[in-house]
């Protein structure tokens, strides 16, 4: 056992060193500061040291009494699974606990407080910004066992779920009754509602219906003191501050969510899905701008460029053209007549913008296939690249053509391949930068390119993240869109609720020593 731990620590140290070496050799090239100059791993705040082995054994024992031996993981072998999420960051927890109830979560938090060990909540680990990565080690609380749909109330259009419920499982329970839970991140077959709440997840269908926060009415939470509280509820407008609104998207840095009350909606009468094929990205993005400007609001407008189309087609054979510069995948829903009318208008705008082909999915099967292609796009890219890095900037929709040009220019300059698959209707970009971490310096170029892309998004009045969260990935970039005052106010919220950074430490805020980089208005 001793050997294992030593190895584990060594491994951690080595990766930190690697990162640091890369940084110091490359990071000073540009005039601009980047995340790399002061990697998060070197931060000294908050002051968490790795657990001593003696303490660790005590903590394990205490946790075993709460959740049972089988649900407290601490061997290297078991922990390895929990050092990743879907971002490019990684760090190993000391202990993983799988609680079965809110009371257990509260007990775990109290143990963590007692021993001063950080707690990082984790859903399915599909997050793209490193939100579930325990950079200071400590306890990862994972909600695999708290995966029950507690109640569905069709008349009041509410469902109450535990945080570990997989997004699509809720929909599988609702759909046969004619209802749905709207937010549908592309990872919905794996990601949990708890994770969705933590990151305020979006998805392709948020254009009309909004993101997670627009669908959550109440929470049960555990505070950093281990207290269990009800927040909001089934009814609207609970007196007092809208704590539900504050906590959704707080990335596990303010509390641990143990129960969620969501709004459900009846399924639309008719849904039509279509693709429009373009020979230039410019035409496709102009089409998006024009559709939005015309006042038609489809339920989804997704864009995929050639690189993505080729990967997707090889993967799911949905019938996407391989030679197109860009495809728009669009969906409208509602009353049959309204859907038909919308489709006509959309087709007209596509044609006006030189769409080569506009095809409406003939049946449900084809519809599902088109969506499967889109939703598996990130996975499909695995066919053509060992790794990729996805960004999540949002820009005003009128700026899409300009920003897409900038992205391809930036990636060309860094000699990186980039594919775009994103929520065009919201202006929410997802450039996927392909790389191979084995190639020396490549990861570094990827980070720099990513940073420059976010600078462009910020410069045109956009934001650095539309649905993936800040996490570890975009801490430095927070300063691109928020002033020092803005950040200080956010910090006050953290001080109010999580003063010792017990929950998910070292996330979301720019790191110490980086104040000079804060945007000045």
């Amino acid at each position: 056992m001793r050997l294992y731990f030593t190895f584990s620590d060594m491994h951690g140290i080595i990766s930190i060193l690697e990162m640091f070496i890369i940084t110091s050799s490359e990071g000073k090239q540009g005039r601009k500061m980047s995340i790399i100059e002061e990697p998060f791993t070197t931060t000294t705040e908050p002051p968490y040291t790795r657990l001593s082995e003696k303490t660790k054994i005590q903590v394990i024992k205490a946790l075993q009494e709460v959740s049972g031996k089988a649900y407290v993981l601490h061997t290297l072998y078991d922990l390895a699974l929990y050092e990743y999420d879907a971002s490019i960051e990684r760090a190993r927890p000391d202990i993983v606990v799988l609680p079965a109830s809110t009371q257990e979560v509260a007990a775990i938090v109290k143990i963590a407080t007692h021993y001063h060990i950080p707690v990082v909540p984790r859903g399915a680990g599909t997050g793209l910004s490193g939100g579930a990565i325990p950079i200071y080690g400590g306890i990862v609380v994972t909600f695999t066992r708290m995966n029950h749909i507690l109640a569905i109330d069709y008349e009041n259009l509410r469902a109450t779920v535990e945080p570990g419920v997989v997004n699509i499982h809720l929909n599988q329970a609702l759909n046969p009754h004619g209802y749905a839970y709207v937010p549908d991140p592309s990872s919905q077959r794996a990601c949990t509602i708890g994770g969705n709440v933590g990151e305020n997840a979006g998805g392709p269908h948020t254009l009309v219906y909004g993101v997670t926060t627009n669908h959550v009415l109440g929470l049960e939470i555990v505070t950093s003191e281990g207290e269990i509280l009800e927040i909001g509820g089934e009814a609207y407008d609970t007196p007092g501050f809208d704590l539900t609104g504050l906590l959704v998207g707080s990335e596990g840095t303010l509390c641990i969510v143990t129960k969620i009350i969501v709004r459900i909606v009846p399924l639309a009468e008719d849904v039509k899905t279509m693709i429009a094929v373009f020979d230039t990205i410019e035409d496709a993005s102009n089409t998006v701008s024009e559709i939005i400007a015309s006042g038609i609001i489809p339920t989804a407008i997704e864009m995929m460029d050639q690189l993505i189309l080729q990967a997707v087609e090889a993967d799911s054979h949905a019938g996407y053209p391989l030679d197109a510069a860009a495809v728009l995948l669009m969906e409208t829903e509602g009353m049959r007549e309204a859907v038909n009318a919308q489709i006509e208008e959309i087709v007209a705008i596509c044609k006006k913008n030189q769409a080569r082909v506009v095809r409406i999915a003939a049946d449900e099967n084809e519809r599902q296939l088109l969506w499967a292609g889109r939703k598996n796009a990130f996975g499909a890219v695995g066919r053509i690249s060992p790794e990729f890095y996805v960004q999540d900037g949002v820009v005003p929709r009128t700026q899409l053509p300009y920003v897409l040009r900038c992205i391809s220019e930036i990636c060309r300059r860094y000699q990186l391949k980039v594919g775009n698959v994103f929520h065009a209707g919201d202006g929410n970009l997802h450039p996927l930068i392909l790389f191979d971490a084995q190639v020396p310096g490549e990861l570094e170029r990827v980070r720099l390119a990513g940073h420059e892309i976010l600078e462009i998004c910020a410069a045109v009045g956009g934001t650095i993240t539309g649905e993936h969260g800040v996490g570890l990935e975009k801490q430095a970039e927070m300063a691109l869109i928020f002033t020092e005052v803005d950040l200080r106010i956010m910090k006050k919220v953290q001080t109010a609720w999580n003063p010792d950074q017990l929950f998910n430490p070292g996330k979301l805020f720019p790191l110490p020593g980086r104040c000079a980089d804060v945007k000045q208005l």
Partner: protein, 444 residues
């Protein structure tokens, strides 16, 4: 007469250009629950407002923001108000990015003024609280006010994409941004909306917008029983139809507004007003299907309103919610029928009269009780209704009532267990108590 407070000369010396009123006679129009502020500040710009707050913060004096005052009556009794800060001078639309369906506006503008400007480019803000002519955007957001169409579009929290706020120390901070999707950092917009000026003064707001509806119609149904009316409501909300509003009306008292609008509501029974906004092409079937659902629940169709008549009807509804004594009761939709029963029973026992206007599809009921000077009976009734609401997963807020009644009843009800977390936020945002205490939940 109030003595001249020592900070006034100091303030005027430092800021000779900022308009202010400290004449108690003139200030009578600005009392908050019969409390006279020491001074009314009328800054012309956001920067001036920020400087005022900074001054008062430094002097350890209190500030209460105010738009046009349409909602100043909501809240428990305030602590001493040194300055009332009026935001109505900053009333410019800063940007209307029509092709992006977003806008940025100063918060002192009235909702009607903003809508008029957005309308020029065929768009609107999907918020329809009462008093659009006088209510300012800042006031609407600070009080989280909403209207019948929140059924379809949601409330302020669903429309705001960014805010600028004067903090307790006079600094101006920003939250959110100008794009429709944004998860960078904490969602402080949500925190400021509905915080009644206890955390900061909202001075600018960015919204997402909607196109104007191509066509709009309202059906009025009457039901003999409340159960039928609410079953019809649930029938509509669980159907594939997309009504923009479902208002339930039951009026026993004098209908002040009706004669003015040459329009009368039924004397008995329960009226359901169902509003549809849609493309013309889908309207006919929406209407037909709605009729079918209503008929299943024994409805009588009374009116099918369009155009000016329809506009007048909705204006009248918004006026109904503004009598001297009204409470807002939030419940799960299925508990609304029980609430109405409860109101009727109480009225019978206590010899009171009730008018009820409810966003039936949202489970939000505005109950007006009269005669409002029947103090002890009113207190009994409201206490009973509040207990009913709390026992049914809801709450009751006393939106309008006399200062006298506030001495007997809490406007917000007892705080819940999460109140400590709210206190901590207030303490962080406003440790020195610059923003007048006493009015908000738990005296925050």
């Amino acid at each position: 007469m109030a003595e001249i407070t020592p900070f006034v000369p100091l303030f005027r010396q430092q800021f000779p250009q900022i308009h202010s009123i400290d004449d108690p006679i003139q200030l009578l129009d600005y009392t908050v629950d019969d409390r006279l502020p020491d001074i009314l500040m009328q800054p012309q710009t956001i920067e001036e407002a920020a400087r005022i707050v900074k001054f008062f913060h430094a002097q350890k004096l209190s500030v209460l923001p105010r738009g046009n005052g349409t909602h100043m009556s909501i809240g428990d009794l305030p602590a001493h108000i040194n300055a009332l800060l009026e935001t109505t001078a900053f009333n410019h639309v800063l940007e209307h990015e029509a092709p992006d369906l977003t806008c940025r506006t100063e918060a002192g503008i009235t909702l009607a003024q903003l809508q008029a400007q957005l309308k020029n480019k065929g768009q609107r803000l999907a918020l329809d609280p009462p008093n659009a002519e006088t209510a300012t955007i800042g006031g609407i957001l600070a009080t989280n006010d909403s209207g019948p169409k929140r059924l379809r579009y949601g409330s302020a929290r669903d429309q705001v994409i960014g805010l600028s706020v004067i903090q307790a120390n006079g600094e101006i901070s920003h939250s959110g941004g100008r794009v429709v999707k944004n998860v960078a950092g904490y969602d402080l917009n949500k925190l400021y909306i509905g915080s009644f000026g206890t955390l900061g003064i909202i001075v600018e707001a960015n919204f997402k917008l909607y196109p104007l509806a191509p066509a709009e119609r309202t059906l009025l149904f009457t039901f003999e029983s409340i159960e039928d009316a609410m079953q019809a409501t649930i029938g509509l909300t669980s159907s594939t139809l997309a009504p923009s509003a479902i208002e339930l009306l039951t009026l026993q008292g004098p209908k002040d507004a009706s004669p003015f609008f040459a329009f009368s509501l039924p004397e008995t029974g329960y009226t359901l007003a169902v509003n549809f906004e849609n493309s013309t092409i889908a309207m006919t079937r929406q209407i037909n299907e709605a009729l079918k659902i209503a008929q299943t629940h024994h409805a009588f169709l009374r009116e099918d309103l369009e155009g000016q008549e329809q506009e007048r009807f909705w204006q009248m509804i918004s006026l109904q919610i503004q009598s001297a004594l009204s409470c807002k009761i939030n419940l799960p939709v299925t508990r609304i029928a029980g609430l109405i029963d409860q109101v009727e029973t109480i009225c019978k026992h206590q010899h009171l009269i009730a008018n009820i206007v409810a966003h039936a599809g949202n489970g939000i009921a505005y109950v007006e009780l009269g005669p409002y000077n029947a103090m002890s009976r009113i207190i009994t009734a409201i206490t009973t209704l509040r207990n009913f609401a709390q026992a049914n997963k809801g709450n009751l807020v006393l939106e309008r009532c006399s200062t006298q009644l506030k001495q007997h009843l809490s406007v917000w009800g007892e705080p819940r267990a999460d109140f400590d977390m709210m206190k901590r936020l207030k303490h962080q945002f406003d440790p020195d108590g610059v923003f007048v205490r006493g009015r908000y939940l738990g005296g925050l």
